[in-house]
């Protein structure tokens, strides 16, 4: 493993969300602020989760306890983040040039990107730092590869969850509202099980399958339909 390796995994994991950032967010200052705010809220969730981790001493080494707590806190803070944006909505509307309903979906998408990016960085940064070499993980030579893939799955899912969750709250759509925390909890807890089966391939397949489903759902929630998608291919 070399610096090249770290670069390869870095590109693979963070290339897509960074591309999204530059294409869709970078040109709008208020959206950048919104995104950073989303990242901040995710970090707050992490902070509270770590407080729980510190306080509950006997369960420090039990991911089966800390993991669900962390997921619940992340979803709570996603909701708080929505509440905050709702309060600031009229201000955001003033600075935004887009006055359509699409604007709200875009805010949700930008927030999700913030959540996803920061979650990915915290998840993967220390793996990436040791991936620069020279050794590789003994017990599982695909440790870093699996880490990179899972991180990418989580980043994509966070973006979709942002869009779907906000759309659900906006329109009181309970299906959307519950789909997000349940799927989050599900995929997280599923990762605990690959310990036993030692089959990361299944986990990753399911993760990417979930990505496809939630990307589709997010597009749908944001107002895309099969017939409107045709416009994608028009010049």
């Amino acid at each position: 493993m070399t610096v090249l390796t770290a670069f390869a995994y870095g590109i693979y994991t963070f290339g897509p969300p960074v591309a999204l950032f530059f294409v869709t967010v970078a040109r709008h200052p208020h959206e950048i602020i919104t995104m950073i705010l989303g990242a901040f809220f995710w970090l707050l969730a992490l902070l509270f989760a770590s407080l729980v981790w510190i306080i509950v001493i006997p369960l420090k080494d039990t991911p089966a306890f800390t993991l669900p707590i962390s997921v619940i806190l992340q979803e709570v803070f996603r909701w708080l983040y929505f509440k905050l944006l709702k309060k600031a909505d009229h201000l955001l509307e003033i600075v935004s040039e887009d006055k359509s309903d699409l604007r709200k979906h875009k805010i949700a998408y930008v927030g999700g990107l913030g959540f996803g990016l920061i979650a990915g960085i915290v998840m993967f940064a220390n793996v990436l730092s040791v991936a620069s070499g020279p050794g590789t993980v003994r017990s599982n030579q695909y440790f870093v590869t699996v880490s990179a893939f899972s991180t990418q799955v989580m980043i994509i899912l966070h973006i979709c969850w942002g869009v779907i969750f906000f759309a659900g709250l906006e329109s009181k759509n309970w299906l959307y509202i519950f789909a997000v925390p349940i799927s989050h909890m599900f995929i997280s807890c599923l990762s605990l099980l690959i310990n036993l089966a030692n089959t990361p391939a299944y986990f990753l397949s399911f993760g990417y399958f979930l990505c496809v489903v939630f990307v589709a759902l997010a597009f749908f929630a944001a107002g895309a339909r099969p017939k409107t998608l045709v416009d994608f291919f028009k010049r």
């Binding site: 493993m1 090249l4 390869a8 995994y9 590109i11 693979y12 290339g15 897509p16 591309a19 294409v23 992490l46 989760a49 770590s50 981790w53 420090k60 080494d61 991911p63 800390t66 962390s70 359509s100 309903d101 699409l102 979906h105 915290v122 993967f124 793996v127 040791v130 020279p134 050794g135 590789t136 993980v137 003994r138 017990s139 599982n140 440790f143 590869t145 699996v146 880490s147 990179a148 899972s150 906006e170 329109s171 009181k172 759509n173 299906l175 997280s188 990762s191 690959i194 310990n195 990361p200 597009f219 749908f220 944001a222 107002g223 895309a224 409107t228 998608l229 416009d231 994608f232 028009k234």
Partner: protein
């Protein structure tokens, strides 16, 4: 705990991949403990030893157990270079090591050496990495090839590391890493050109030496780089130990019986030197005990001339201790420079030395198990001295022979005395005549095995023990004769064979023995270890355990108990007295002995003449750490695909998101249609 905190959350999903909450670092690297490094030493003109500076060296671990596989690895098997080669001990020969160093496929060498119960492997018949003429260039007489040595100890290994593994556990974990990863498929031998599969076991050796070039360069750096003047190296040195039986008087001449305390080896911390000069040290201590017993039981009241027992330190590195003693004698500063506020023993110089008897390699007879050993006397035409020794041997089953007269004197501390004054009467007692009997001189295999033979059992009836006892008795008698006043008529008591066994056992098998532990008043858990005591002189900033042990033993053997009441702190040397020492013993006895330590740092470092060719200039490089870790490396195959996939994915997503962004109002038409006044939500 500090590490596991960020871990728990950063790896929320990934901790589960393997059991337990190790850090990622621990999942990758295994630190190998129990290693002894080869490190860098410098002298006036050159550097020797190993340095991996500026980087750590690493390579694929390859175990080599035959000469042919070693040759094959170097000549043809370059697929996975560079290598760290783990050699079977018998392959660690001078020519092999140099061949590996000079090939561009090897970055380091590891060999196994378990200190506890060490034996000489039966297929190693001789191994002497010392010089053919030890301390060449510093003696008073010309040099000849006394030793069948290869000078491997004096080779400079640059950007190369050589470690000895001294723990079975570490060796096994290294071997398992190799076996599980680097063996070609189906266990086929690599030397038939069978390729191994990635991932491969790799070792990284850290031996970061700060000194470079030579001792003058090192101290030059110290001046330039830091205002404090701290150089990246320290002079070798320690303390000489000497003592007299009775208080030294101004009018007395001196009969010196000397040997050296230190030894050398390729890995200095594996220098045990059983015949270089452990046998000599044991003999000298036995003489001290013998004469001390006579003093204590009243059969020896006083002597006309003084008998002085001397242990020189640092002799293996160009006579550090003896050259310093001679230097101080010439400057009228031996034993101490004059201080009117203190009670000091009289100062004396070279003319006062009436006889200089040196024990230099006395443990190996050509006929190993012989009970009537022959010792050779190398001397500068001192017939009276020779006959004194030969007369001394009358009572004992041992004979002294003058060495072949055409030969110069062998390398020994006496050379330093002769260099300044050719008329000092010198006799060097050895077990060899023209060539060292010691096949392992200056190596890590100069161990007890080398003295008592592979099947020998160390007890008081072993020929070696009897040889040393008789030698001690003979020299003790000769010394008494030489010191006067009266011709010796009475027989001496029998030398203590049990003492010899005990000393050999403690020095060469287990220094954590009760005998040694009793010499220390405080806790010595990390000072005395359950293995042989290494005898590398080390840098001059610390006093070696061995020096302290020799000092205490000599004090006990030559001293006598004095009236002492209470176990308080009264039994100490008064500040202003340097004539005798009072020892605070753990058994609450107080001993009065005329034993001293004398600085053994080369005179070259006194006036900063670092490029001296007259005095020893050896210095040891400073280093931050010597360590070793192993890990496995993968081929770049997977990583290359990840890189390509990453670039493709990023490119495609850029294009897709750009188009989506451009066409957003059309694609997300239902949301965007609220522009027309209708509020239609996607689902509801």
């Amino acid at each position: 705990m500090r590490l596991s905190f960020p871990l728990t959350f950063s790896l929320l999903f990934l901790v589960s991949l393997t059991a337990g909450l190790e850090t990622v670092y621990q999942k990758i690297y295994t630190e190998i403990s129990g290693i002894v490094p080869c490190f860098r030493l410098t002298n006036a003109t050159s550097q020797i030893g190993c340095s991996a500076t500026p980087r750590n060296v690493s390579g694929r671990v390859w175990f080599i157990d035959t000469q042919s596989s070693l040759d094959y690895l170097i000549s043809s098997y370059h697929y996975y270079k560079p290598y760290i080669v783990v050699l079977e001990p018998e392959l660690f020969t001078s020519s092999n090591v140099l061949q590996l160093y000079n090939s561009d496929v090897v970055n380091g060498i590891i060999i196994r050496y378990i200190q506890e119960n060490a034996t000489i492997p039966s297929d190693i018949l001789n191994f002497s990495p010392a010089k053919p003429c030890p301390n060449n260039g510093f003696g008073s007489s010309q040099c000849r090839n006394w030793n069948n040595g290869t000078s491997l100890n004096f080779v400079n290994f640059d950007k190369f590391a050589i470690f000895a593994i001294t723990s079975n556990e570490s060796y096994n974990s290294l071997y398992e890493c190799y076996r599980d990863n680097n063996l070609p498929l189906n266990g086929a031998p690599f030397y038939e050109n069978n390729r191994a599969d990635y991932p491969l076991c790799t070792a990284e050796l850290m031996a970061d030496m700060q000194s470079v070039g030579s001792t003058p360069e090192c101290f030059q750096r110290g001046r330039i780089w830091t205002n404090l003047g701290t150089a990246p190296c320290d002079p070798l040195g320690d303390m000489n130990v000497w003592g007299t039986l009775f208080e030294l008087r101004q009018e007395q001449n001196v009969i010196m019986i000397a040997t050296k305390l230190d030894s050398s080896a390729f890995f200095p911390y594996l220098a045990y030197g059983a015949n270089n000069e452990m046998a000599g040290i044991v003999t000298l201590l036995t003489i001290a005990k013998l004469l001390g017993d006579m003093k204590r039981n009243g059969s020896l009241i006083n002597t006309t001339d003084s008998i002085m027992f001397t242990f020189f330190q640092g002799e293996s590195y160009d006579y550090i201790g003896s050259s310093r003693m001679v230097y101080d004698m010439i400057n009228n500063e031996f034993p101490y420079s004059y201080d009117s506020s203190k009670q000091q023993p009289p100062r004396f110089g070279l003319p006062k030395i009436k006889a200089f008897i040196e024990l230099s390699q006395v443990g190996i007879q050509t006929e190993r198990e012989t009970t009537s050993p022959v010792y050779y006397l190398h001397h500068n035409d001192q017939q009276s001295l020779v006959s004194a020794l030969q007369n001394g041997a009358d009572q004992y089953n041992v004979s002294f022979q003058s060495s072949s007269s055409s030969l110069p004197l062998p390398p020994a501390s006496a050379q330093m005395f002769l260099r300044e004054n050719q008329s000092v009467p010198v006799v060097i007692v050895t077990d060899f005549d023209q060539q060292y009997n010691n096949k392992f001189f200056g190596s890590r295999y100069d161990i007890l095995d080398n003295l008592i033979g592979p099947d020998g059992i160390l007890d008081s009836s072993h020929p070696l023990v009897l040889q040393l006892a008789n030698l001690a008795g003979s020299i003790a008698r000769a010394a008494l004769t030489l010191s006067g006043p009266n011709p010796l008529t009475a027989s001496l008591p029998e030398p203590d064979t049990e003492l010899i066994v005990q000393l050999l056992h403690c020095f060469l098998q287990n220094s954590d023995c009760d005998f040694f532990k009793g010499l220390f008043s405080s806790n010595v858990e990390d000072v005395l270890l359950p293995k042989p005591m290494y005898r590398y002189v080390t840098v001059n900033t610390v006093t070696n355990t061995e020096t302290y042990v020799a000092y205490q033993l000599l004090s006990n053997f030559t001293g006598e108990s004095i009236p002492y009441t209470g176990c308080g702190s009264n039994c100490t040397t008064p500040d202003n007295i340097e004539t005798y020492y009072l020892l605070n013993q753990s058994n609450c006895a107080c001993t009065k002995a005329y034993t001293h330590m004398h600085t053994a740092t080369s005179p070259a470092f006194i006036d900063g003449n670092y490029s001296s060719d007259y005095y020893s200039t050896w210095a040891e490089s400073r280093w931050t750490s010597t360590a070793m870790r192993i890990y496995i490396v993968n081929s770049y195959f997977v990583e290359m695909w990840i890189l390509i996939a990453g670039i493709l994915l990023t490119g495609i997503l850029t294009a897709v998101s750009f188009q989506c962004y451009r066409k957003a109002k059309n694609i997300f038409a239902i949301s965007a249609s609220s522009l027309n006044g209708k509020t239609i939500h996607p689902v509801n």
